[in-house]
Symmetry: C2
Subunit: 645 residues, 2 copies
Amino acid sequence: MKIETLTNTSIYETHSPSLPHRTWSDWLIGNPMRTADAPHQTISKKIGLAVFASDALSSSAYATQEIMMILAVAASGGLHYVFPISLAIVTLMVIVTISYEQTIHTYPGGGGSYIVARDNLGELPAQTAGAALLTDYILTVAVSISSGVAQITSAFPSLYSYRVLIAVSLVFFVMLMNLRGVKESGKLFAIPTYFFVVAMLVTVSIGFIRFMIGSLGSVVNPPAFSLVGAAVAITPFLLLHAFSTGTSALTGIEAISNGITAFHEPRSKNAGITLIWMTSILAVLFLSISFLAGKIGAIPSESETVISQLARTVYSGTGLLYLALISGTAVILIMAANTAFADFPRLGALQAGDGFLPRQLTFRGSRLVYSWGIVALAMLASLLIIIFQASVTRLIPLYAIGVFLSFTLSQTGMARRWWKSGRLKAEQEIQEHGSIVKYDQRWKFKMIVNGFGAVCTFVVMIVFGVTKFKDGAWLIIIIIPLLVVFFMGIHFHYESLAKNLSLEYYTSQPVAIRHRVILLLAGVHRGSLVALNYAESLSNDVTAVHVSIDPQESEKVRKKWETYGNGVRLVILDSPYRQLVEPVIEYLEKLMANRQPNELFTIVVPQFIPRHWWGNLLHRQTALLLRFALLFKPGLVIVEVPYQV
Amino acid sequence: MKIETLTNTSIYETHSPSLPHRTWSDWLIGNPMRTADAPHQTISKKIGLAVFASDALSSSAYATQEIMMILAVAASGGLHYVFPISLAIVTLMVIVTISYEQTIHTYPGGGGSYIVARDNLGELPAQTAGAALLTDYILTVAVSISSGVAQITSAFPSLYSYRVLIAVSLVFFVMLMNLRGVKESGKLFAIPTYFFVVAMLVTVSIGFIRFMIGSLGSVVNPPAFSLVGAAVAITPFLLLHAFSTGTSALTGIEAISNGITAFHEPRSKNAGITLIWMTSILAVLFLSISFLAGKIGAIPSESETVISQLARTVYSGTGLLYLALISGTAVILIMAANTAFADFPRLGALQAGDGFLPRQLTFRGSRLVYSWGIVALAMLASLLIIIFQASVTRLIPLYAIGVFLSFTLSQTGMARRWWKSGRLKAEQEIQEHGSIVKYDQRWKFKMIVNGFGAVCTFVVMIVFGVTKFKDGAWLIIIIIPLLVVFFMGIHFHYESLAKNLSLEYYTSQPVAIRHRVILLLAGVHRGSLVALNYAESLSNDVTAVHVSIDPQESEKVRKKWETYGNGVRLVILDSPYRQLVEPVIEYLEKLMANRQPNELFTIVVPQFIPRHWWGNLLHRQTALLLRFALLFKPGLVIVEVPYQV
């Protein structure tokens, strides 16, 4: 045996100095990159905060407003509950952050909910977490871009009627950027994130100062609030509804735990510190916005965001500082969508690698990114934006339930892990010392922390599902189990395929020695004679078959075959119903019923190839139809002899 | 040589008693029919009138209204010109009828404009006539169905907002009926046509009686007429504009000349008499409607048709007789669309047979009808209806210009024919007698009749094009030449193909004796070993080729091949850019550059066939992509070895 390895690099270097042929898509997304060129550098805490925090921090741009949207329908004084509810949400945020801190130290290789659930809870919870996260990433893109567009249309109201178009264009822009493979580690990301944080901190600081010296006042010309139906009473349900709406502020907190490997060593420590910083900033911004929005009497509205109302009240107008904050907010929201574009394809590839999603998702495109996942995310998010007309308020009820489901699964998985590690330690102690002597109790504390996180996020998820059920949460409650079933179906397909193709019990068969060749003839011309030539080179046992639709045509074929057929026998199949494929199939089935064990059936199909692709439209694609029908018949081999004109 | 003919009938009778497998489409359009079952019966004049007149007669339902639409914008008294203009149109109708009478006697085998132009004027005029007629048939469907729906919505105004949906549904209903192959000769057609004629004659007769005894009165609650812009003066241009709009009454007159063969013998005579009857009825109905519409002060409107206004004035309400007329009108309009569904595919097949349209149009489906043409017509007409929102007034400017172009070409062709026959006779006289003695002058008269028809229809066409240019006629003026260029391009394709495939100068080549086989490997499994088995049966010169994207995967392939590869050499192509198809192509190009004259390259592609079609979505279709790329390389044969799971 001779095994030669041609490194194709040299071929490329001969034909084109450095790269394969450039195509239009290269122009759009950049020149192809080598597999070996995958980046491996790590980032600092400062850059890490910028890279991973955009999703979480950007939720401060809409969380307050969405709480107000719910409370505004209350009889009166409903909006007084905005700040207390925000405080409750920040408490939850702290609990989740502490939980994730522990995950980061336990999974230094990256501890997304999918991995934690897969390691500690098994296949079904892992796929549930996967389904929850994938739907959530789609919603992150839809909500963030819609909210970003809402900031833009607040500053430029004339653009409001183009919001869906602008939003979809932005999704495609972010998609293209990701197909190019924007490096997450780029310092480029640091600028807008810090710009947003600084702009927002400056705004709320000035707001607080003006509030304390009493010069803040109220919003001038607030947008109209149209109350549909009668004002409702303030009930616990309403408050829980507002609370669960506000939990959208927690989305994005898990981002750092997915990307631990990107940090400098000691990476767990660095990632953990960054997480705490991120939550602190988010809590400050969110609470400040909620507090000030109440004081200035902001009105929740689709036409002007609360951020915009706050900014023009604090700055007494829509000057440069106002525009700086609005544009900073819009940019960070678009960057939040970008985070989902990094996470969705990565998770998709992970699930596909485990065999729960189509294998194509593991394929890295010319720019080393998971192209299929990126394109799928853009399509689905655009669809949501179009259906919900880029309305954040209409999208929010779908959002966050997936986040909390994945939080719950992740924390439950961690708690289970501590419990198992505790039992293991106890067993070791007993094995070593006969009884538990030096019992390390830390696992208990850790288990309680993660367990408490799991219970809290689980309760929030239930509250969310109940209060927002009819607003749209029902859709997600239906979709997630369906997705899990779908993932399981895919897994079953791949498993059974692998079993069928396995060589484990394979015994090689003797080479079949007798070829029986069927040559399909549409007419007798140069193309069919090339095919005849090939058929005769395969075997002496060649039968030409012609389907007769028009008796006059068939007579012509018969006559011509007498001249050019080289003595090969011709079978003419009558087709009274003018079908082409069916008579061939029936004839072959009859022949194959009498097949000898060492006989191999080969169907030779002359395939006409027009000079231009549109030439195909001028010919009945008989060869293609036959190929498709014959492929499903076991025991046949199809030979296409092309003739180019 | 042995030529056996299997009549597939017997196979069918063994497998399924009378018919091939029933599919869902059989359920929709009926069981397949044998080629031999094509109907050959002929019809009487009475049935013939019903079958061929629906298109022509139905135009009386909208022609008056469309004339009024143009005149209604005039300052005042514009509507007084409706009747004189109608008279002028009827005169034109008589001229065209006399012209066609002559055609019918000259072409007893069917004398559509395409055939007459092809026989007497040549390729380019024939294709022009074809283009004009095809566009016109599409418009016939769109206009007739839209007008039919307008009658329905006049009676049931609440349906007005669903008019596009209703119209498109009707187009699809007529399409399905035609795919089933409704027999044109059915007596079924006689009932609605005569019902319409009788209902309309009764209505106008009662109208005349009530007008004469002075009890007719005016329309009660006429629809509002919204005049856009200022009222215009009555100019010759306006009158010509109204005239050309009204010429839509002439559409459908040529139908009988297309279908002469359907009549009992003597068919030309019978068809001719039927034509005269048809024109007479049309003229009476059209003039009566135009006269009475003026007397009752009908208002042209999109929301209520003039026919509906006339009927409820004559019958003093919307009772049973009103509904009878309206439903009769709606049904005949839908039948007019049906006529186009008979003519469009027939002309398409004729042009395709001559090689000016895709050959698929000559293919008769399971029900012996030209399925491709029927489906194409339905799609194009639906598109027009959707674009023009089922508005007859907006569709009319596109209509009729094609009709008059085909009239002109047909009459010119006839005139040319008479002239040639006259010259021929004169030459014969001179040959026989040395000079013209007994000179038969009848050809001169006939030539003048057709020539006059040609001039009249040409003038109308020009008037039409000028007056309606900016309303939409410009579109048709652009489209028809483009279509002709397109037809010529198709013709060129078929001609050059036939030349290339011709066996005229063919000398048979010696059978290639050396097979060089390339086996493409994605992995080593049962499927690829089946393909290896086949490859080895073709030749001893087999090379397995694997594209390496992931070095670890390739290493596995190499190891497995050592065990299972049966000593066949393996080439591993590095693909640093993760491409699958391109490295294979480059490798093959390199090999083929050194090809020996008697060497034949065969590429063996293992093709995985999933159990269900959706299984394909879970696999990268590498085999398909390769097949597609390789087909365009001359000198390669592609062998697909399927492995079913």
